[in-house]
Amino acid sequence: AQTVTQSQPEMSVQEAETVTLSCTYDTSENNYYLFWYKQPPSRQMILVIRQEAYKQQNATENRFSVNFQKAAKSFSLKISDSQLGDTAMYFCAFKIARDDKIIFGKGTRLHILP
């Protein structure tokens, strides 16, 4: 069975700082996808970044980047130059290619402080 673990229930950082959110997962599959989703307070969930397991290069989307360590089954999210609008719940998620479902971690609540 696949599991996703986010070990940081809550974090706070000052605006403009860099913050890293941790995620580990467990699977015996080789073909899978990893995601970070953002859910701002009272707003809908959106995809932040996606990583295909077969790609060695870490995904980057503007201020968001991941550190994907396949052997260690680790998938952390780095937010650079954090902004007040980054305040949200962040969910790490995992999907086997052959399955329609994704598995969410429990989430990390991130507060960006002015």
Binding site: Y33, Q44, M45, L47, F91, D100, K101, I102, R109
Partner: protein
């Protein structure tokens, strides 16, 4: 803009009174999902459709049912809501193919209150 729409955004129902939540999508995605999300928790998958094929999660209570009459619409029926069913209900869609990166697109949710 292509999107996932959920109606209503807020729903209040009485204990035991059936309620239906609706979801529509303009993305023409094959897969539609219903999640239940309680405060500060991860979304919990209730069931999903791949086209007309219905997939129920093993731990989804029988009180929850779903219908997907066509590609665009999906409904969540709660036959006899209990206080424990008060939650945010999220609808999501996915193309189901690698070309779209398997991303799920979420609606804004319906917040259900049971009185």
């Amino acid at each position: 803009d292509a999107m996932v729409i959920q109606n209503p955004r807020y729903q209040v129902t009485q204990f035991g009174k059936p309620v239906t939540l609706s979801c529509s999508q303009t993305l023409n995605h094959n897969v539609m999902y219903w999640y239940q999300q309680k405060s500060s928790q991860a979304p919990k998958l209730l069931f999903h459709y791949y086209d007309k094929d219905f997939n129920n999660e093993a731990d989804t209570p029988d009180n929850f049912q779903s219908r997907r009459p066509n590609t665009s619409f999906c409904f969540l029926d709660i036959r006899s809501p209990g206080l424990g069913d008060a939650a945010m209900y999220l609808c999501a869609t996915s193309s189901g193919s690698e070309g779209w990166g398997y991303e799920q697109y979420f609606g804004p949710g319906t917040r259900l209150t049971v009185t």
